[in-house]
Each structure stands twice: as C-alpha cells, then as structure tokens.
Subunit: 245 residues, 2 copies
Amino acid sequence: LIYFNAFAYAQSPNALYQASTINAILQGVYDGELTIKDLKDQGDFGIGTLNGLDGELIGLDGEYYQIKADGQVLKLEGNVKVPFATSSNFKPDRFAELHDLNYEQLQKSLDKITNDKNYFYAVRIDGVFENVKTRAIPKQTKPYKTLTEAAKDQTVFDLNNIKGTIIGFWCPQYVNGVNVPGYHLHFISDDRKYGGHILTGSLKSGKVQIARITDFRMVLPQDASDFGKAALNEDYSEELKAVEQ
Amino acid sequence: LIYFNAFAYAQSPNALYQASTINAILQGVYDGELTIKDLKDQGDFGIGTLNGLDGELIGLDGEYYQIKADGQVLKLEGNVKVPFATSSNFKPDRFAELHDLNYEQLQKSLDKITNDKNYFYAVRIDGVFENVKTRAIPKQTKPYKTLTEAAKDQTVFDLNNIKGTIIGFWCPQYVNGVNVPGYHLHFISDDRKYGGHILTGSLKSGKVQIARITDFRMVLPQDASDFGKAALNEDYSEELKAVEQ
Ligand SMILES: [Zn+2]
Ligand SMILES: [Zn+2]
C-alpha cells in the first residue's frame, strides 16, 4: 500500500499518455519510436499495437503483453517499440459490479458510469465472460497497407467461458483523428494465454473500475519520413468504425 | 548561453502545453483553473485568454501580458487564471528573414518553413509592421454567451508603423475541436503598450523563428460543472474560422 501511494503521487494519476495518432495507424504508419519502457514510465495500464502492426498490446498491473495473430501471448521487454499506444497510471475513482450483459448492454452500463462525455476515461473490468471475441492482426511487411486492408488478414479468437480482464479507454468525439472516439478495449485471460482487441463479448459477472482522465499527452514521432508524409488531416471516422469495432 | 542550454534540457523544449479546448471557449466555458504560473512552468512563450474572456493573453520571453478591450496592456501575476491558453518553451529550429508581405503572403511564407502538416509549430516573428490589426474581447458576465456572440463586442486596434513581436502556434487540421487548425497568432508592441489577437496585418521586415513541436499536452478542468456540460463534441469549424481569423 505504501508503494502504491508513492507511485501514484510521483506521477500524475489521471493522465493519459499516447504514442502517435490513430489517423497515422489508419494510414499505415506502423513503425514508431516509443518503447514499452516509455509506456511503463507513464503508466501501469495500457493498450495499443507493436511496430509492424505485430499483434495487439495490453498493459496490466505494470506488465505489458503482446497478443500475436497466431495466438501466442508474450510478455514484452522494455526495448520493444510501438507505433500507436495509450497508457495511464490507473487510479480508479468509479466502481461497479455488473452481470449478465451482452456487449451493447455492457457499453451502456459503462456509459452511465462515465457520464460526462467531455473527458477521457480509463476502463478496467475483471470478470467472468460467457464469450469474448477478440482479434489480432499479423505483422505487416513494407510497403505497408492501410489498417482497413491489413485488418482483412486478422485472426479472430472466439473465447468461451473465460476469466480475464478488459483494459481500455473511452475518448470523447472531439479527439476524432487523434484517438478512437468511444470505447477501445483489449482483453487478456487470467492465465495470460489468450487475448486481443475486443470485437464483441458477453459478461457473466465483473468488477468495473473507471478513472476519469483530465490530463492528455500525445508524443509524435521525431522522424518525419513516414509520419510527416501520411495524409493525417482527412476524416477517417467511417474507416475507423469499420476496423476498430 | 549556459543558462539557455540548462533551461532547454531541464524542460522539454519542443512541447506544447494547453489549458482546456478551443471548443470549450467556442461554447462559452470562460472560467478555467490553470494559472499564469502553470503556463510559465511549462513555457516562456504563449497565447490565450483570461478568465471571463477578459482580453487577450500573450507570453513572451517568460513574461505574460493581458491586452484588455479598452487597450490597456498589463503584466500578469502568477495567480491569474486562464480558461484557454497554450504555452511552450520556445527553442526554434527554423529561421528566416522576411520582408514586404501582406498577411496572406506572410502565412504562405511561414507554410514553406513549417512544411510537414502533421506536426505542431510555435511561431515567433520580431519585426517592423506597416500595419497590424488586432482585437480584444471585453470581459463577459454570466450567463456566458458563445464566443461568436461575445466577439461581436470586440474592440479592433489598427496599429500602423509599429515594431513588435508576433507569437503563436500553427496546429494540424486533425486537432480540430481541440485547438485552432492553422495559424493562431497574437501581437505585442516593443514598448508593451499595444497588442491583441491578430486579425490581419502587413510586414515590412521581420526575423522569423519557428519550432516544430512533437509533444502535445492538454489539461482539462477538474471541475465538470461548466466544462462537463458544454456541447464540445460538435463540429464548430465554421464558427471558429469566422471568429478567430
Ligand atoms: Zn485495439
Ligand atoms: Zn487569440
């Protein structure tokens, strides 16, 4: 408990730290400069992807994991790089117990807890799931395709009667182009053997913890050769909805 | 020079620090929590407005000034609060000398220097101006009107043959709703007697310094009573263009 408090006070507890932008990922900027260590330095909790779009990233209780398209779940070293990821030191301020909800009902229940739609929220649900449908995209090779194209090769995992944790963020609509408006949630099983980016699911029972975030930080790549050239100033709302949800 | 280097390394030189969002200002959320001290702690250079929308803010070489609608220019104390403002520790990496340009030509010349449109830029121009047309909005009273309505009461200052400094930022289109896409520039005269939010102008000759920014931080109000209730998730591009440029 002493350690937890010291950690929480040393760094801003309600801050979101982000590598690059969602539009960069949609446009195939799959190689970033920030590392898992950078994410850990700013958060014990996070989601994202790995360089080359090599699977899905989930950070939980200070450990970061890669869920590869072949189903492998690997614990990540600090030097691994990310093109897009979001992390936070999770200090929840809203709590709930939920049960017997499909994915739409679950999101509506979370909506009631988050309430003010002008803030960011970090979301964690530890629970038992009747089903969780996740995906992971296989590592891409250059020249990189757009995310819409790359996602056509995704592997979908159909996980039934599984214990695990949902980790993710809710972002306001006004950061369209910067991050994913609405919920962006990843999953990892208790045994750390299964996971991915959540497509849908149904909750048997779960403990919900949510943190309102008022401090948002985004770090863009120093190297402009890919990021600087990409068409990031268009509206990709439709592509994003199709590929992320 | 030693002092300059120490300062630059102690704090991130290419970071932008922002209080609240531009949509909040457009929707009349005119009372913020951050102070001039908070801005100074993150930057020696900045622009914005004061609580109650009481004139225009400009920060230059570590001093922050208020340009009131009655024309007064006041040096600000650290405890004064801001509803929307942007600051940066200015460490330019691009330099140019420009002369004899109207406002459109000036922006086009700056466009060539900024080049990569996926980054943020801090802009400073020290020069002699044939003309600078600035505005300042008078302090509002509650219930607050929208910025479009409040700006109808603005005072316009027509400054001719004046020496001074332009300070401001260029932001990418993808932060629409968060900050002002394109240029947002303020002016203060060398004698610190005149200034405001720039509407237009023409440059006789000036020294341009620009810093590319790759680290963006936005701090939202903790108090949700106004910020949380405002309609921040609409597209106010048209209102913004009309009122800011
Ligand atoms: Zn994802
Ligand atoms: Zn202004």
